[in-house]
Each structure stands twice: as structure tokens, then as C-alpha cells.
Amino acid sequence: MLDDLSGRAPKTIAARQAWLGVLARASLEEMRSNLADAPDLPDYTILRGPETGMAMARGRIGGGGAAFNLGEMTITRCSIRDATGRVGHGYAAGRDDAKVELIARLDAVLQNAATFAAFHAAIIVPLAKTRADRWAAIEAQAAQTNVNFFTLATMRT
């Protein structure tokens, strides 16, 4: 459609999945504060959006069985083409247009071998660390509530 990735190596896809996953979970403020350490983003034109709609979140019956529709969630998307001709896509849960537009711009520069390293170091690495720290803090709290129940002798033997 907007972009054809069929000829690319799986490794590239995995890298792109990783940065899009990091960006989707960051807030606009977090992204903007890291932009200060990055080169200027190229000019761009909007191809689509930013627009907010819904994604139908699906689960599996019993946890691992056939899919069912659990309920919808808000999602925002945006696609851009930057001055180098690269197409970037931004998707994130929620309704933050500005954030998703910025994700699309970053997706474009991260696909460019010439600018990847600078943007990856300035934006993706610190945001990934923020995410990991946040998860570790939650896990630390959760782990403190780990419990061993003891069974007392009952009348039933």
C-alpha cells in the first residue's frame, strides 16, 4: 500500500518492530525531551492522519483457544513521507495525535541507514530504558506480594 517491505530482511523488520513498540509506549513529553539530543528531523508531508479510531482487542477462549472479541480500544495512526522520500508509520493506543505524528517521523529517520544510529541512541535507547525501569519497579512491588500459603490439617483426610 503505502510502503513495501516485502523485499527486506527479517532482521530489519524485527528492529522496526522493536522501535515502534518502544515509541508507542512512550509519552509525547518523553519523546520531545529526548529530541533535544538528536539531529533535526527532516521536513515531511502527511500521507494519512493523524486520526483516531478504534481497534477491536481480541482474546482467546480459555486463554489459548479460538479468538473472541473482548472489546474495543482507542488507537491513533499517522503516516508521513519525509524529505528523503522515506515513508514512516506511527501507531499507538490512545488518542494523542501529536505523539503518533512524531512516531511516524521517527519511524522514517530510523529506516535511514545514515540517520539510524543518531536517532536510535538519542531516542530509542533512553525510552527503552525508561520502559524497562518502569516495568522493573512494578515487578519489584509485585514480587514483594509473592506468597506461600500453608495448608493446615483439616478434618478431611
Partner: protein, 357 residues
């Protein structure tokens, strides 16, 4: 009977709305609360409104609660109305609850569950004493930074022994209540979608009824887990899955003793509950009712309300229910006028026949 529209009353309605706005604001000398505070501090209300509004967006749910003065059914209604303004862009990949970052995970059947039990931020062991002091919470101890290791679902462990029925497989597109009206017989996919957005009180009462003997299913909570799961979509322009964020879910695996039937050997059967947010009660009740409605498929007698899928699914949606129940208070002047005429005519007929005797 048909509802006949009325005209007039604009001025009174305007004044009623103005008063409502003042009541909603409350005493102007007190600080106004904001949706962000509701989102942060009334999390269980937000979870319920997202579930019953069938739209996961914490901030919108908080906004709806504020606008509805804390009336959670009204808030769910506002959320349902809002969602009709949004286009459906995509379906997500089914979430993997086995990879959930666990806040809470308990099993009532396995003491030594591989992966362990954790209580999470639960009210289970509180004394339910009203706290007038409201002490500041203790600060988080983050010194034990560690990485979460996903724990397998308890039912996957039991399943290996074949004493537990497996997850039903299937690869087709699941039914979608938001695209086609509820119809019967309803498959398990459609049932679960309907229950996931069903009224918590209704599900709770029906689940309770099964425990009290109206269609007993001998349930055990195999596992209850609460935590965050990654949500992924596969946009057509990319052709591969990308994550768009995380949502908090509660999952309940109910394990039910089953004596067997002509078609099915004795084994443990299962009920499943999955819902938005942290909602133990909703997930457990949903799993009870899901299992109850499988009575017919498992060859059990269908005698109790909770076993009747058509009854349960047709009445569990509180937005639909409140619309039909509450519309009774709107002007029915013409309706009633005709009922009045009918009663008067019947009276006249009865009096006339009495006089003839």
C-alpha cells in the same frame, strides 16, 4: 405499545440541565475534581466503565464518570455513545495472557503453583474498617529491581494430565456484537464478548445463583491473574505485527467438577472470564456464568436462569437495559390515554352485564 413523541418543555429542560450542571459541580467553595484525579484515584470505577462501555481508554472513562456524577451505568452509556463517533480501524492480534506481566496471580486449587502466587494490590485481606485517618501510603521500595518472568496459565499445567478439557480451537473470524445484533444460538465467542461488557451486578447475581443451587457447576478458581498484556496489530501497509501499547486485564480460569455425560467422560470442565482492568469480581462471575451457559452443550439439564444463554445474554447489557427500563418515565400520555379508554370501556361492559343479571 409505541412511544409517541412529545413537543414543548424547552425552557424547563434548559433550566433542568443548568441545575444539573450546578449539582454536578457541587459546593463551589470546594476544589473541583478533574478527570485525571478520577483516572488515578478511582481506578476500579474506571475499569468498570471501560468494561461495560466496551472501550478501553482510561481517560475517556474518567471523563465519563465525572460527567455522570459517578453514576457508572450512565458513564458506560456515555462511552458507548462516544465510540459510535469513532471508525473501527483494525482488529488486534489475540492477546497472550500467558505472557502477562503479572501484578496478581492466585490459584485456589494449587498451593505450589509453578511461577508462584502473588497477591498484588488486593483488598482481599483488608478488614473492611472504614478509615477516617487516610494515612499517606508507604513509599515504593524499588531496591529489588528485577525482571518479570511470565508464568504459564494454571490450566495449561493441568491440561497435560488430560483431566481438564482443552481450550476450544478454531481459526475463523470471531463473531462481533458491535457489527451484528445478538442472535441465537450464540457461539462461545459471542457469549464471551457479551459477558465481557455485561453488567457486573447482573453477572455477580447470576454467578451467585449457580453457587446457591440454581444450576450448580462445582466451581474452583483454577487461577485468577491481573496484569498488563502487550497489544499488537498487523497494519496491512506493514504486513507484520507491531505493538501499540499495553492494557491491564483480569483473567479467571474456573475449573468445574463434571461427572460426565453420555458424550463426555468425567473430567474438569472450564469457564472463562476475561475483562478490562483489575476486576476480580467481574472476571470470576463471568467465568461462572460462561460455564453455566455450557450446560446444554455438555448434556446437563437446563433448568436454572444462569444456564439459559438466551436469557443471560439478552439481559446482561446494562446500557440496553437501562434504556428500556428508564424510558418508562418519559411522557406516555397518548399511550396511557388509550389504556384509560380501554379500561373505561371494559368497566362499562361489565356494569352493563351486571345490570342485566
Amino acid at each position: 405499545m409505541a412511544y409517541v413523541a412529545v413537543k414543548g418543555g424547552e425552557v424547563a429542560i434548559g433550566a433542568a440541565h443548568a441545575w444539573l450542571a450546578r449539582v454536578r459541580r457541587g459546593d463551589p467553595s470546594l476544589p473541583q475534581i478533574d478527570a485525571v484525579q478520577i483516572e488515578a484515584q478511582l481506578g476500579r470505577a474506571v475499569d468498570r466503565v471501560m468494561a461495560e462501555g466496551a472501550l478501553y481508554d482510561r481517560h475517556l472513562a474518567a471523563l465519563a464518570i465525572l460527567q455522570a456524577q459517578g453514576d457508572l451505568i450512565e458513564a458506560a452509556f456515555l462511552l458507548r455513545a462516544y465510540r459510535t463517533t469513532l471508525p473501527r480501524l483494525i482488529d488486534t492480534e489475540p492477546v497472550d495472557t500467558g505472557a502477562m506481566r503479572l501484578h496478581r496471580r492466585i490459584s485456589a486449587i494449587f498451593k505450589d503453583l509453578p511461577g508462584g502466587q502473588r497477591l498484588g494490590p488486593t483488598t482481599d485481606y483488608t478488614h473492611r474498617l472504614l478509615d477516617f485517618e487516610r494515612p499517606e501510603p508507604e513509599p515504593v521500595i524499588t531496591t529489588i529491581a528485577r525482571t518479570a518472568s511470565p508464568a504459564p496459565r494454571a490450566t495449561d499445567l493441568l491440561g497435560a494430565e488430560a483431566l481438564l478439557e482443552p481450550d476450544p480451537s478454531g481459526t475463523g473470524e470471531p463473531a462481533d456484537l458491535t457489527m451484528a445484533a445478538l442472535g441465537f444460538p450464540a457461539g462461545r465467542d459471542l457469549r464471551l464478548q457479551t459477558l465481557a461488557r455485561g453488567d457486573e451486578g447482573f453477572l455477580l447475581a447470576l454467578g451467585y445463583s449457580t453457587q446457591r443451587g440454581y444450576g450448580n457447576t462445582h466451581p474452583f478458581v483454577g487461577e485468577l491473574r491481573v496484569g498488563e498484556v502487550a497489544v499488537a496489530i498487523t497494519p496491512p501497509e506493514l504486513g507484520f505485527a507491531i505493538e501499540i501499547g499495553d492494557i491491564t486485564l483480569t483473567e479467571c480460569q474456573m475449573v468445574n467438577q463434571f461427572a460426565g455425560s453420555k458424550a463426555v467422560p468425567p473430567q474438569f470442565t472450564r469457564g472463562y472470564g476475561l475483562c478490562f482492568g483489575h476486576a476480580d469480581r467481574r472476571a470470576i462471575a463471568m467465568a461462572l456464568v460462561d460455564r453455566s451457559m455450557r450446560a446444554e452443550d455438555l448434556g446437563e439439564d437446563v433448568k436454572a436462569p444462569a444456564q439459559n444463554a438466551e436469557f443471560v445474554l439478552s439481559h446482561c447489557d446494562n446500557v440496553e437495559a437501562t434504556g428500556f427500563v428508564e424510558h418508562l418515565k418519559l411522557p406516555h400520555h397518548v399511550d396511557f390515554q388509550s389504556a384509560l379508554e380501554t379500561i373505561r370501556a371494559m368497566r362499562r361492559d361489565a356494569e352493563a352485564s351486571d345490570a342485566r343479571l
